[in-house]
Amino acid sequence: MKGLQIVVLGSIVPDPLQTLEPIVGPTGPALKNEMMLPAVLDPWAGHALYEAANLAKKVEGKVFLVALGPKAKLQQVMMNVAQKVPFEIVVLDGPAGGFTDAVETAKALAAGVEKIPGLDKSRLLIFGGWQSASRGTGAVLQMVGEMLGITDQFQGVDEIKMSEDGSFSVLERIEGGSYQQSTCQGAPAVLGWATGNLPEPPNNPQVGMANMRLIMPALQKAAPAPLGGEGLRFQSVEVPSQRRETRIVKNASVDDIAREIADWIRA
């Protein structure tokens, strides 16, 4: 099928190398110095974006990224992401943290998808991560699909293969390291990506320049998307005590270490 519209839903998360500490903010829990923490595109959203771009190239399709997050942080992250693959962006200016509500997030994202000019649901594939590095509910994509009336949904996807007639086959992760194989008659569909099979594309400054011509205006006219967290109350959020008393074994012979490990494994 030619001319697919692939909409990727994704946002930003704190750089995984950062230390995260919860605090109580005016509207509930938040991260300490959240706006100062360096951010990256959520890893699963990144996989979805790269798979979307790869598929779009094959089917002469177009990729849109609908991103919900603080627009100043989104702008920083997009300076890098924009150099990876071509896409257009719809920016929703709101919180991107882990303490938001999945239903509210889904409503904002579904409204963002509906705003895409020339949206044709018969050619629509919704991509996103099946998890995230923030809240990690795996819920938002399903809800957005329901809101858009899409009931062909797949989660934990590592592969999609399109046929000439617009149908496609999908591999979804299930338990025990296995995949469930499915075929679908065609768009519209929702695909929550696991890691996929593609490496992160190298930076391409020309792609970056072309993308940024569209990203900067989209950031400027970002629609506000406040998420109130109605009816959701946090009793507590804390970093669990996890420090162990590590015994460091130095200068021991290989034989002694191996014997100790073997005994521990057998025990």
Partner: protein, 331 residues
């Protein structure tokens, strides 16, 4: 409070372990319990928990509900949930249930929280425990909204076994879908994956693929040692992202894929013991070890992440030599 335990059956119509644990979570809430089951067959599953104290058993069964397909599973769950009229709906966090839980919640106008590790009534209110930011912090939440649909993680609740004979009220649900499940692609019997039933998790880190003393990579030897230890212990195999990425580019161990990845962008397995080898123990990796009880690591760097309170024992040694000897001892 009305509580609905909602789960799919496995092949043969019985309930899986994760579902029995979710029933334990639902029972723990102490309300009026209804059981809802869907799948190709449900009677065997209902009989397996007939004496669990549920006031009612609801079921949706048929060939179209045999496989994990969003359209049919969501229709079945929606019908059962509407018939039950529950305040709290508890589902297991299996791949099949997780695929539809949030969509069903939306159809019901429910609040949805997934992958809970705790669910209890405290002070007359239902309080859920779940992790945020990839197991970096844990929170307790309450909801005003009803119904409240939750999925609960495996290994967190006592599984219920209460056999008997259940009378199941079958609901008629029609399900059409443009999706067809064509099969299951399983790893080869001798393939090494993360296997939840194993006692030990062996994690291979990036060091196995790096140049060793003399500036030479010893990839063949690394493969033999890792596979040898797997063969000797029947343990589960995980990897750090950096080694998986090397493998994907053809530069390291060919039997590693993203399915082995443990950590920030991988899985968070639950094993009694974990042994990290040639892995530096940085936070993005170690968040995947949150539910590993006993942790040991082998690394040449005495100040690596494992030494910073993340492992019980750090052996400062050459993993090639140590693993070779361990395999000999365990054979």
């Amino acid at each position: 409070m009305k509580v609905l335990f909602l789960a799919h059956t496995e092949d043969g119509g019985s309930l899986g372990k994760a579902a029995c644990e979710a029933l334990g979570a639902a029972k723990g809430l102490g309300g009026d319990l209804t059981v809802g089951l869907y799948g190709a067959e449900v009677q065997a599953g209902a009989d397996g928990i007939a004496a669990c104290g549920a006031a009612k058993f609801l079921g949706v069964a048929g060939a179209e509900f045999a496989t994990a397909r969003y359209g049919s599973d969501a229709a079945a769950c929606e019908a059962i949930a509407k018939a039950a009229g529950a305040d709290v709906i508890v589902m297991p966090a299996t791949s099949r249930a997780s695929r539809v839980a949030a969509g069903v919640g939306l159809r019901l106008g429910a609040a949805v929280d997934t992958r809970l590790t705790g669910l209890a009534v405290e002070g007359g209110k239902v309080v859920a425990t779940r992790w945020f930011y990839r197991q970096r912090m844990v929170g307790k939440i309450e909801r005003d909204a009803q119904p409240w649909l939750v999925t609960v993680d495996t290994g967190c609740f006592e599984a219920v076994s209460a056999p008997g004979t259940a009378s199941v009220e079958m609901l008629a649900v029609s399900a059409t879908s443009r999706t067809t499940i064509t099969g299951i692609k399983s790893p080869a019997a001798d393939a090494q994956t993360i296997r939840p039933e194993a006692k030990l998790l062996l994690v291979a880190g990036a060091g196995w693929g790096k140049s060793q003393a003399g500036g030479v990579k010893r990839l063949d030897e690394a493969s033999q040692l890792i596979l040898g230890l797997l063969g000797a212990t029947q343990c589960s195999l995980g990897s750090s992202k950096s080694l998986v990425d090397q493998s994907g580019e053809g530069g390291a161990l060919p039997f590693l894929t993203h399915m082995h990845q443990v950590g920030q962008t991988g899985s968070t397995p639950r094993h009694q013991k974990g042994l990290a080898t040639c892995c530096h123990g940085e936070e993005p990796h170690v968040v995947g070890w949150r539910f590993i009880n006993e942790r040991r690591a082998i690394n040449l760097d005495a100040s690596c992440g494992w030494a910073q309170g993340k492992a019980d024992v750090l052996y400062v040694a050459d993993a090639f030599a140590v693993v070779n000897k361990v395999v000999e001892l365990l054979k």
